[in-house]
Symmetry: D2
Subunit: 293 residues, 4 copies
């Protein structure tokens, strides 16, 4: 066990197992808005549930919360307690611009910040096989690496501050594009009498394949199981962040922007943000009068 102390804030679906992996190797202080969860984590993983300001004792602080505003609020709350030289690793799927503002504030206290959103879902986190895409300075990235290696199979330093959030947002936008476009194609094929499972088998051995066609559609849509692993509302939020990245870049992106509109419409039409992101297939099904089964 290393003698370095880490602090972990946010014990949700992703944070819980990740903090668990960290606790195996490092002295891990944990905090969660619902504190009972922090106490439960301590009992299960041997971490230490502490008041928020005590997190500042850690040399490396991790945040894994829903949105950048939450991170900013936490930074403000901890600012008076932070020690210079602390490294702040943010696993929130956040907004580049807001993250840069938070980083500036932290820098005034000598705290270093890295945006480090994750991919691989809860399963990846539990199996210590997450992918993390990091934005920030090279020295901070190298310092973070041994910690990230505790639960990540793929660690990539993609660019300067905000680049991690940006790449994550674009990745999730591509997930959304494939979810939507494949649904469009599949309902048309099913309407024409094509067997969807076999169509997917062909596509997945062809040039149009994607993680969506290989790993989401056959196991969740064709089977009609639609497990709830990633909320539609969160993916819609990521599409909004991607739009902000594109807006800041000033580059044309008609398809990504269009898909963002469709997911916003889908949220309204389905009537809930809590359904799984694959529910958009069911919206296309409803508009087409067929089921992809």
């Amino acid at each position: 066990m290393s003698d370095q102390k880490v602090g972990f804030i946010g014990l949700g679906a992703m944070g819980w197992p990740i903090a668990g992996h960290l606790a195996k190797r490092f002295e891990t202080l944990v905090w969660n808005r619902t504190f009972a969860k922090a106490e439960a984590h301590a009992r299960e993983f041997g971490s230490r549930a502490v008041p928020l300001e005590k997190i500042a004792e850690a040399e490396v602080i991790f945040t894994c919360v829903p949105v950048s505003q939450d991170v900013d609020d936490l930074a403000r709350a901890l600012l008076p307690h932070l020690h210079p030289g602390t490294l702040w690793i943010d696993h929130t799927s956040g907004e580049p611009e807001q993250a840069k503002q938070t980083a500036l504030k932290l820098a005034e206290q000598g705290v270093r910040y890295l945006d480090a959103p994750l991919s691989g879902g809860v399963v990846g986190a539990e199996n210590a096989r997450s992918t993390v895409m990091v934005g920030g300075e090279a020295a901070d990235f190298e310092r973070a690496r041994p910690f990230l290696e505790t639960y990540c199979a793929k660690i990539v330093h993609v660019g300067p501050l905000g680049a991690g959030h940006a790449v994550k947002a674009v990745n999730n936008a591509l997930l959304a594009v494939n979810l939507w476009a494949l649904s469009e194609g599949m309902v048309a094929l099913v309407k024409q009498g094509v067997n969807p499972g076999l169509a997917l088998e062909a596509i997945n051995a062809s040039s149009g394949r994607s993680n969506v066609s290989e790993n989401l559609f056959p196991s969740r849509v064709v089977t009609r199981s639609f497990p709830n692993t990633f909320a539609l509302g969160l993916l819609a939020k990521d599409l909004g962040i991607c739009t902000d990245v594109i807006e800041a870049a000033g580059t044309p992106a008609p398809v990504l922007r269009q898909v963002r509109e469709f997911f916003a419409i889908a949220k309204r039409e389905i009537g809930s943000s809590e359904v799984d992101h694959t529910a958009v297939a069911q919206l296309l099904e409803r508009w087409s009068g067929v089921e992809i089964r």
Copy 2:
């Protein structure tokens, strides 16, 4: 060497190696519009270059030509010579409706037809690792299987007559969607200082990955090599066929239709149909003022 005789029409980039594989196992009659190519094929593979009407002697006839109209013309020319019971396997990336008409005409002569477009490109064909998605009757499919196994690693019977062409068209539309959407995302990221190679590394270990992000962008776009393996004009044509499939199905497909428009615009803007399909990345680069390198 089987005693079955096959006939192969169309010795282009895909047909040449495929007919070569067939010639190793079957007595193969070949014909090509530019007859010299048929003669060259005979010299290299031991096939037999014959006048068009002699192709009708084969028990199984293959067509591998650019468009369904070509197949229809060939069917009309061969009609007086065809024997009942002949199987016609069409490897053209064709149009379902036109193919059904051709199949009806052939059926009047007792000839069975399967639409069996391929994926995997020239490399796949050369290595006998193509994917073939077949539409038509089950009995005809089973009859075709041993021949297809000569050069296909993946053989899928996706549905009734026309279903093969339909699945191929949707597959290629998904290839196009990913090419376009990934280009949109990448130019925005590069504009914001993100390293494109590293961004792709992250995406390819994340939920938004696709064959395009894994096998096309790193080796062709980031390297700037842009090899010419699949003409933009052909992919634009496939998007048109996909639109016809959607039109016939009567299902909504705003994204697939939009991407079709963009590829048509891209053809115009780039000024050529002969450039490689990855050239659309260069169009987004021009519209954005950056290069994905």
Copy 3:
């Protein structure tokens, strides 16, 4: 009263008043699928309700039916009875390609055909102030003019055979575009606290005004009266015809095609084709959580 005899088929919302205007000046034979309507028309306007084949006695035949397929069916039924030299004026909002086929068939009998769809709605038709856009030969157009002047305020010969239907389709697509785009703009403005009636007043004195913003939104949407004057399903059909025109032209039209998809989605979401075309505003309202009032 002229001594020329005209025949009028289709006494729906548009046909009824138009045939009535014709009956004031010409001996008018009428036929309708529900024959009782033809008899009622005769009683009200002094026209003559006759069996279908008797319509062929007229020198000028008018069709005012829902779709081109109906016109084609009628042409086939009347073909054995038609006299050479008859002029067929088609007020259906039809499909250019199918109309050209029908015209060819009629030409074999020496019957001249003009596609002459109308704009101006039922009110325009009742007040003899319709607009008619005509496709076909100049000589036929000139021959038709005196008849059209009976109920049209604006008569334009827009081009060769099919051009009338094409212009009508594009016109109705522009109506649809404005309905949709203005709804998008208005819900955003209302969400931000802007008074919709006053916003429309400003827009209608500005460069972004249209027939939709001037004559549809204030009187139907802001008032919430939504009178049913033109079915959503018919406008969606016209958008389909416009798409066919664009497809035949081979020109890019991303916005017109996109709006066509949205109207198809709107039909599904609203759950009826019979609601008024302005109902799309209510769909945007539902997606936005506000009302344009």
Copy 4:
């Protein structure tokens, strides 16, 4: 001549004639970044060219500059000199959110602000027939009215602070939508042999007509005169502001957003922001291989 003193900043294409109309009725102080223009205005209209801070002596200050950032800069520069009770009328086609920030700053000095963008172009301004859509408090609006009546034919108070800019942005987005959609429709019609001038004549007597089809296309596009009256770059900027309005409202707007992307692409493709906004028709023409003549 009223004894009220007004100050006018920004003597560009719109400001020059408007300040001229004001000068006929009020003592008008003028300032322009290129001061020689202010001096020329004084010579022509009897206004008084003064240093910037002297503008603060006016009871009513007008700004007519390209973007909201310019207005904000001017407000900061004048802040130390402004008297409480001054009314600031902003004719810039601005951004609602930034304007609200500027208004807050001015309010600290007791200065009242109205966003009051104009429509009607240079011709409208010269002929004192502009349309002005105003956002802000009712009392301020009533106080502004007699001044606006000097050069406006249509004065509408559309909502609270920012509403004027928002309505202007939506109006200009609708102008852009009609410019683009009509171009799409017209190139398809011309490709099919339809006479564009006659098609427009029909459309302009039909339900799909707009200010664009009535007043821009016949006189500028069909004639090929393409006079430069409103830069493409400015209209693209307005579409960006409209996007911000939609973003702030959180309502779906797939068509308005798509048109914004196309205008951004058009700027790149045409290679200049300075061409007239109707140049987008020429881009559709290039993509279609026809001219709308």
